[in-house]
């Protein structure tokens, strides 16, 4: 009994730092509507800077000032990033800011590696809280007791700031209705900056406070951002008390899940998040989001299929690509195969995100289901490659049918979070159902049939399937069904009023996108000869978003072009430098600032400006 009690109290201590991080994330989202993906990186920075400062100031008297200073230092860095980067792109299409903060996270990860080296850094114990007390016969660290007391204190402080200060009132008002606050003449720029600074401060503080419990390391950012997202969503976006409640729930689930359901401990948290989203879409203490007044602020450009020049260019590109194995060696052909697979993966996400306005944060689920479906069919059922690929697609379709049915009940950021939850559930199953999936060891020996075994032949197979699938996706985009999907994106109100069934159409779109992602995943399994839980990872889902957003979410071809460029670049960068994340992140930041409509969007704008100028020159 006492053991369970101690476990419970330990859970509360973990909840404290999770609450600090998540409340910052929640406040930032509430006001700026930015899903700050760099939040975990700021948390990590807090820990590393805290370590250095304690080292400099001395572990005795210097400990507490160092913790405070590191939180301020992180807040200063965050403020700088907000002013230099985010301010430039608040007007860009939704989610574009996610791309920027993702890039910041990449840069910070490698910078931390450069500055602090690869090994874990264990901080000193906190002065005055080094020992343990006796808790029902079990030793319990006093520092954890301090943390437990800290969280309600911070909650109360935030509550006071929000209730008692003008600034707090503005923050709450902006959380409820951003446009109205802007219309009232509030200086939104500084409101956003200060909110971002506060949020990042909390993340830095949370990171620094973890030092006595956990060594600063290079994976803590991804770990915490995932958990913080879950907490924010369960608690209700923008609600700090909700975040507090959810932090406790999640931490206790983690503490007890491992005891009660060791087989599904990882999946438990995401299962709870999925259930909460399905039952209460806006979280435990959140409020239903007010409908946005404008259509995402961006001017939507007209979509049209390829004319004759476009088709010829596409055909030439495919023909040219088909000639590649004649000129290039096996390594290069392998790289090209991978790029093609990711073009298909991005095109499938693009179909959903750009063509349907449905931002899936968990598209890797269907890629991964395709991989596992194919690998399991091949290895466990002894089917051939051809049937195995079909099995992969079928598994992806089934997954999309089941998950999609729930997801299309929500919209906007809640839709995104539910897709993320399902992807994490799929990932946890792949990771923990060792008997079938091999768990962490994955499934190896997934090789193509003899006729497609050589790199060149597998490349041609991939080219045929990818090009054909992308063409098919484009055709669907411009079919009556594709129009109905896009009509719902353009104006849900109008589309529903002319008899388009939102849920059914979006569900179908979800399934189509999932099926093509599964094909990409199955091909990837055979290219690599193996399947690992990484095929369903969050980073793969985010990669998909990066490719689509980089290409341009307002365009028809953005996903395909973005994937070709991003994947080639990342493979090239990874093979040329040890600091690939730094280079890639910096590149994405530059592209984001230069081309807020994405690369294809920028190209289209340039072309229409040119033809516009020519037409003007002709008119008398």
């Amino acid at each position: 009994m006492s053991f369970y009690f101690v476990q419970f109290v330990t859970g509360l201590a973990s909840a404290s730092s999770l609450f600090l991080v998540a409340s910052g994330l929640s406040i930032i989202f509430g006001v700026t509507r930015v899903v700050n993906f760099a939040h975990g990186a700021f948390y990590m920075l807090g820990a590393y800077i805290g370590y250095t400062l304690i080292d400099r100031l001395g572990a005795g008297v210097g400990f507490w000032p160092a913790i405070g200073l590191s939180a301020f230092a992180v807040a200063a860095i965050g403020t700088l990033i907000e002013m230099l980067l985010l301010r430039r792109i608040y007007d860009a299409p939704e989610l574009f800011q996610l791309l920027a903060t993702f890039a910041v996270a990449l840069v910070v990860e490698d910078l931390a590696l450069l500055i602090w080296g690869p090994s874990d850094l264990l901080g000193p114990r906190a002065p005055g809280f080094k020992g343990a007390i006796d808790l029902l016969g079990q030793p319990f660290p006093t520092y954890d007791l301090l943390l437990i007391a800290l969280a309600p204190l911070v909650l109360a402080l935030i509550w006071l700031i929000f209730r008692r200060t003008t600034w707090g009132v503005l923050v709450r008002a902006a959380t409820q209705d951003r446009e109205m606050v802007a219309a009232l003449g509030v200086n939104q720029k500084w409101l956003f900056t200060s909110v971002f600074a506060l949020g990042v401060f909390l993340a830095g503080l949370g990171g620094a406070l973890e030092l006595p419990r956990q060594a600063a390391n290079h994976t803590m950012d991804l770990q915490v951002i995932t958990e913080a997202l879950v907490v924010v969503v369960i608690g209700g976006l923008g609600s700090v008390p909700g975040t507090f409640l959810a932090a406790i729930i999640v931490s206790e689930l983690n503490a007890f899940g491992i005891l009660v359901f060791p087989k599904i401990s990882i999946v438990l948290v995401f299962l709870v998040m999925a259930i909460v989203l399905i039952v209460r879409p806006w979280g435990l203490l959140g409020r239903a989001e007010a409908a946005a007044r404008t259509a995402s602020g961006a001017i939507i450009s007209r979509w049209r299929p390829f004319g004759a020049p476009g088709r010829i260019a596409a055909a030439l590109a495919v023909a040219f690509a088909a000639l590649l194995p004649i000129a290039a060696g096996n390594y290069f052909v392998g790289v090209a195969t991978e790029v093609l697979i990711f073009m298909l993966y991005a095109a499938s996400l693009h179909f959903l995100l750009a063509g349907g306005g449905l931002a899936s944060f968990g598209h890797a689920a269907y890629f991964g289901l395709g991989s596992y479906g194919a690998a399991i069919a091949l290895k466990s059922f002894g089917l051939g490659m051809e049937t195995a690929i079909v099995a992969g697609i079928v598994l992806g379709l089934v997954g999309a049918l089941v998950f999609g049915w729930f997801c299309v009940r929500l919209s906007g950021v809640y839709f995104a979070m539910l897709t993320l939850a399902f992807a994490q559930i799929a990932w946890s199953i792949a990771y923990q159902w060792t008997d079938v999936t091999g768990g962490d060891n994955g499934i190896i020996g997934v090789w193509p049939s003899a006729w497609a075994a050589s790199p060149a032949r597998f490349y041609w197979l991939t080219l045929a399937l990818s090009a054909g699938s992308i063409a098919l996706l484009r055709a669907i985009t411009f079919s009556p069904f594709g129009y109905a999907l896009r009509a719902l994106r353009d104006s849900t109100l109008r589309a529903e009023t002319i008899g388009i069934e939102r849920r059914r159409v979006q569900w179908m779109g979800f399934v189509i996108a999932g099926g093509f992602a599964a094909l990409a995943g199955a091909l990837y399994a055979f290219l690599k000869g193996s399947v690992f839980p990484d095929n369903i990872s969050i980073s793969l889902s985010i990669d998909g978003l990066v490719m689509v957003l980089l290409g341009g979410v307002g365009t028809v071809s953005g996903g395909v072009v973005g994937a070709a460029i991003y994947r080639s670049l990342s493979i090239w960068v990874i093979s040329h430098t040890d600091y690939s994340r730094l280079v890639l992140g910096a590149l994405i930041i530059v592209l984001v600032v230069m081309f807020p409509k994405g690369l294809v969007g920028a190209f289209e704008a340039w072309r229409s400006a040119r033809t516009g100028a020519r037409l003007q020159g002709q008119s008398p």
Partner: protein
Amino acid sequence: MSILVVEELGKTYSGFQAVRNVSFALEAGEMLALIGPNGAGKSTCFNMIDGQLAPTTGRIAIFGKSTAGMTPGDIWRLGVGRTFQVAATFASMTVAENVQMALISHHAARWLTLRWAARRHVAEAEHLLDLVGMADQGQRSCGELAYGDLKRLELAIALANDPKLLLMDEPAAGMAPRERHAVMDLTARIARQRGIGVLFTEHDMDVVFGHADRVLVLNRGTLIAEGAPHAVRANAEVQAVYLGAGSLYRTHT
């Protein structure tokens, strides 16, 4: 048989009665205006009739069918066209494609995946655009239209359903005075030709009294007057409501 029958309709939002005991009927070919000061419950009434809001009390029947539990899409499929106070169109499509989208839905072709949408119902879309006076604007982007043209496009989208009932929420709002009358004349002509019943709200009293066959006046959620335009205009209670509410609309006789 009346094409739209509303009986004892009521809507309560957490204790506040937005609409109370509203009853009326609409005949084929009739232009019926629903007017009242801001907050009188016009939009609430509209949103209940087109299926966006569920009534708290009362019944709505369209073409003799109860619409209880129907979605806006179900009501569209009964043969109802709807335009919005703030025009709602598909910004990534051309003007013609907007109408084609509505026609695709009307002809139940929205699940087709391997056909070109842009090649469907081209002639029909052209005809509808011609009808609302936008024949030469079919290939323009929706985003570059003037507001008045957007309202005409909305009318074309609504007509794509070959409706027998048109619900128009402030069809002439945001238009120049001359244009307002042109659009209302057009609507009235089409309605009479095709036997369409039109229920519309409008703030501009010139438009209301110039084009409605019959007028319903709503105040604080209840109907206070109903009748021919000249009778409603002379009604003392109606005048009190409009003048008392500090409205700018004077009704000269």
